[in-house]
């Protein structure tokens, strides 16, 4: 019985659902704040202390807005795609070690890295469906752009994710995280850099944010959404961003593990995880700020002609290093 309670607590409160939601909103705030600072602005200020409640206010407001479903939409998909996409992103979190152990204890299995990456693709697919079912030309174009982009960039992402897996001799995320006495980002920096760039594309951020190119396709796949469905679409997007960053942390920055100075390791592990994750968020935000958006064909060319060959090269180099270091890591 007590074990069940612990399970429920872990899934719903910490480090599961509630924690992920809260953390997502905080990250969204950090993102907006840091982007504002990089652009010499202040960013949200008056909503809570230093505007920290801004994402929460946005979310609550959207939840209670009038909900308009356009008459000629494919109703079922239009209604459920946002919430499905959101729940799948959150579900994927359950397989990440956040406070030193997976959210669902013992949920880790050999190959859950592949499983999580697949979940991300599925959730992305629902984002595509949400736009596709809107029957608005801008949504449709935005949706196809999402599809082309994540289908293309999934391949280098998978290949790059294999590099740490190879070094750790394991396809389980928690095992990869545990086995990094020395963060892989320092061991194989080129793979980390490539992973961040690919992640940038996967998360549809500048310079790869063609699905959100407002000046070309208005709101992209979100154009026709209002009220709570829009709230969940936006939230799904934010969860996706921190999920992507979390995967980067687990694979390259030794996950939640770091020095424990005193007291409970759970506290330190969570702290390390949050700090590392914020670091990745700042890096992606920095990249967003310093580049212009590429054109959709340039995005695809960048994938097939640059990132894919480079990711294969990086895998080869990683294997070479891995073999050389084998006694150390194994």
């Amino acid at each position: 019985m007590s074990l069940n309670l612990e399970f429920v607590f872990r899934v719903l409160v910490f480090p599961g659902f509630a924690f992920v939601l809260l953390f997502t909103m905080i990250c969204d705030w950090v993102e907006r704040k840091i982007e504002a600072r990089m652009q010499n602005r202040i960013g949200p200020t008056y909503t809570g202390p230093a505007g920290i409640l801004q994402p929460f206010a946005d979310f609550v407001k959207l939840l209670t807005k009038e909900d308009i479903v356009p008459l000629d939409t494919k109703n079922f998909v239009f209604r459920f795609a946002p919430i499905l996409s959101f729940s799948i992103f959150v579900f994927a979190f359950l397989f990440l070690p956040i406070d030193g152990a997976n959210v669902i204890l013992n949920s880790s299995f050999e190959g859950d890295l592949i499983f999580v990456l697949t979940l991300v693709s599925v959730a992305n697919f629902f984002l595509f469906l949400s736009g596709w079912s809107s029957t608005n030309p801008y949504s449709a174009i935005g949706a196809t752009r999402v599809l082309t982009q994540f289908l293309g960039y999934d391949i280098p992402l998978f290949i790059l994710a294999l590099a740490p897996a190879f070094l750790a001799h394991n396809l389980s995320i928690s095992a990869i995280a545990v086995n990094q006495r020395f963060p892989f980002a320092l061991l194989i920096p080129w793979a980390f850099v490539l992973f961040i760039i690919t992640l940038q594309a996967e998360l549809e951020k500048d310079p790869f944010d063609v699905p959100h190119a407002e000046t070309e396709i208005v709101g992209g796949y979100e154009t026709e959404y209002t009220g709570r469905r829009l709230a969940f679409l936006k939230l799904a997007k934010d969860v996706q961003i921190i999920l992507g960053a979390a995967i980067a942390v687990e694979l390259f920055l030794s996950g939640p593990y770091g020095p424990v100075f005193f007291g409970l390791p759970v506290f330190w592990y969570t702290l390390w995880f949050i700090l590392k994750l914020l670091m990745v968020i700042v890096i992606t935000e920095y990249l967003t700020c310093v580049f212009a958006r590429l054109r959709i064909d340039q995005v695809l060319v960048a994938n097939w002609k640059v990132l894919l060959p480079l990711s294969i090269l990086s895998l080869v180099a990683t294997i070479a290093i891995g073999l050389w270091l084998n006694p150390v890591v194994g």
Binding site: A36, R37, N40, R41
Partner: protein, 127 residues
């Protein structure tokens, strides 16, 4: 590489801005200083007015209405029509119309957006 490729200066600039003070002015708390000669809400001094109506005649937006005050025609400014060009002040032979530094004129009620000749003399405000 024979030619040195130039790095985008934005890389450095954006990084530097993380620690720089934002350029934002905290408007509602700190009111901006309006420069001398700013074209804001009108101040009308009824004591100078000779009821000639030149201001109303020259107003490009026809925002000035001559209304009866104690039997004499005086200008009433419709702020919702006014384009703040101050041609009226230029046309006025007696300098009865002056500009104030008031620019926060927004109102939820359109009928508030007037400067009445009888009340405007002292301050720029009639509320």
């Amino acid at each position: 590489m024979s030619k040195k490729t130039k790095l985008s200066p934005m890389l450095k600039e954006v990084f530097a801005h993380i620690l720089k003070k934002p350029a934002t002015r905290k408007y509602p708390e700190v009111k901006p200083k309006v420069p001398e000669g700013f074209r804001g809400k009108q101040i009308f001094d009824i004591n100078f007015c000779v009821s000639c109506g030149l201001c109303a005649r020259d107003c490009p937006a026809r925002a000035i209405e001559m209304v009866d005050v104690d039997g004499k025609k005086r200008p009433l400014f419709h702020l919702d029509l006014c384009i703040f060009c101050y041609q009226c002040a230029e046309s006025c032979p007696r300098n009865a119309i002056k500009s104030s530094e008031i620019f926060e004129l927004a109102s939820t009620n359109k009928s508030d957006l007037v400067v009445r000749p009888e009340t405007s003399t002292k301050k720029g405000s009639d509320e």
